[in-house]
Every structure is written in C-alpha cells, then in structure tokens.
C-alpha cells in the first residue's frame, strides 16, 4: 500500500464520518435494512444514511444473492458511483454462494467481479452486524485500507475478464428499454 499524503489522511478521516449508503436491495437481506435504517437500530447515529441514487452514494451494500441478471445491473451501478466508493458484501450468498452455491443463475463469490471491502457473514446477519460492519468500514477508511475502488482501476482487465466469463456480456439488453 502506498503512503498517503497528509491531505489524503485528512480527507479519509472526514470521508469516514459522512457515508451515504446506496439503497440497492438485491436479495432477501433487504429485509434487515428497514430496522437498521429506522428508529429501532438507527444507523444515522453512526453517520450513515440511505441514498437513492448511485451517483451520490459512497457505500454499496449488496444484500444477499446475486443472479447473473442482477450482477449486470450491479456492475452498471458500481461503475456509475463516484470515487471513492466502498462495497459491503452482506450475507453468506455474497461470500461463497450460500444455499445457492449450485444454482444455475446465482454467482458464488462477489469479489471476483467487483472489489469488496467488508464482508458480513451470516444468513441473515442481524442489524447489529450491519452496524458493526459500518464501524469496521469507517475504521478501514480512516486507516486507508478500504481501497477497493483503487484495486478496481488497477486490476480492471482481470475484473472485466471474470465478468465476461460468467456473464457472457455485461451490456444489458432489455426488452423494456430497447
């Protein structure tokens, strides 16, 4: 890892205190987000708030399994997000496929396609685990270790090759949009 300049250290420390989470719910893990966001667990007391659009968001939370169809949209979304961007893989489905490990349409590991900064294990992880992951991610950002977006740029060819291997083509052909 490269040594950060003082300005980068200050910027990282400030970034970690203002995180906007892209509210993009892919799998059943989306169920755990309403209690995390609202009064019961209230993630805003840690400085994390939900955001509806990718261009203004910092964190992408992949909640659960991803099938090939969703993965295309996730890659689109991830590439639209502005730097610096962080990805949290949520639940065992993103780690090793979970109960869908032998499915014909569900991917087995997420960090093969986009870089993942923090994984949350479990099926389902509880809201406490999500808050724990946010705190861990903030810690990593402050230390300068959450560099997934840099890795994506450096190893772009490798990620693209993996995406094409599993998806055939990343470009979305959709009868409702063409």
């Amino acid at each position: 890892m490269k040594e950060r300049t003082m300005w980068e250290q200050i910027a990282d420390s400030l970034r970690s205190r203002s995180l906007w989470m892209l509210h993009y719910c892919t799998g059943c893990g989306a169920m755990e987000l309403p209690p995390t966001m609202t009064a019961r667990f209230d993630m805003e007391r840690f400085g994390v708030a939900p955001m509806a659009t990718p261009r203004q968001a910092d964190i992408m939370l992949i909640t659960g399994y991803l099938n090939t169809k969703t993965l295309r949209r996730v890659i689109y979304t991830y590439e639209q997000m502005a730097d610096p961007k962080y990805v949290i893989g949520f639940g065992s489905c993103t780690i090793n496929g979970g109960i869908y490990f032998d499915s014909y349409s569900t991917i087995n590991r997420l960090d093969y396609y986009i870089p993942v900064d923090v994984y949350i294990a479990g099926c389902m992880p509880r809201p406490e685990a999500i808050l724990e992951a946010f705190n861990y991610l903030m810690e990593k950002i402050r230390k300068g270790e959450a560099d997934g977006w840099k890795r994506y740029k450096e190893n772009y060819e490798w990620y693209k090759q993996n995406q094409i291997r599993s998806l055939g083509e990343v470009y979305v052909h959709d009868e409702f949009h063409e």
Partner: protein, 174 residues
Amino acid sequence: MTNSMSKAVEVLKSFNPFVEEIDDREIKISLSNDKVISALDVLKSIGFSHLSLITCVDWIDDNQFELVYILFNWEDGGKILVSTRIDRSNPKFITVKELWPVARFYEREIHEFFGIEFEGNDDMRPLFLELWDEKPPMRKDFDPSKYSKEKFPDRKYEKDVIKEAKIFRGEING
C-alpha cells in the same frame, strides 16, 4: 368441495377426467391432451374465469411433460388444477392466449425453462434468463451444479489447523 367445483366435475363428465380431491377447496382434473383446451373453455364459461398460473412438471422417467393450468373461481373460492401430459421428446402444445391473454407470459416462461413450444403464440423471446446458452434449466436432465462449477468460480478454502486449534482452546475468537 365447493358448489362450483362439484358443478365443474358434473359438466366435465363427458371428457372422462380423472378427478383427484386435494382438499376441500382444491381438486385436480387430469385429462388427455386433446380435450384440455375445450375443457378449459367450458370451465371458463361456468365461473372459473381466473387463470392463476400455468406451470409444468418434468416426468423424465415417463418421457412426458405435465402441463398444469390452475383456475380460480371468484364466486366461492374454488380452485381447479387442470392437468395434462404431453410427449417429452417433441414438446408442443396449443396456446390458450385466446382464452386468457395473460397466458402469453406463462407460456413464454414455460418455453424458456422447459423448452415447450406453444402453437399460436409467436412471442417466445426470453423472459427471465439473459444470454442463456444451455438446455432449458428446469429440465431434469440439466445439471445445475455442473453448470455452476463451470461458469461461477468457487471460493477456495484452506484449512488452517493451528488456527482452528486456537479457536477450540479459546485463545482467539473464531
């Protein structure tokens, strides 16, 4: 059995169906495949106007596909499963999109997941799968595990005995 269902069984007598009672609101009527469309027409006219679902079962040992039309009656909540078997090696059937326009989408789905052609329904574009390059995935002879292994790489786990022993002895948190 609700009133509408007993009426339906009465009306369909001439089709010589095999009637199976699943519970008091649901029956299954099995018919030979040349009588299904007219039976569905009759059922629609006596109140079973709602097509809940068309679905399919792959009976690979009998070399047959079973098509199931699930009809619902809004008068008294009766439900009828109209089932028929077609040849698996040449899977073709007739569309019911003239009776229920919504059937277009169910037929597209069945075509996508089982590979059954529906005569009269020309719109057979893929509905759920994108860029599918294998045989239809819901067929019993399709091996999803093999496909997943080829296409989606697994995470490799290395066994760390010393770490496991430390976790076991309570020295570190697992």
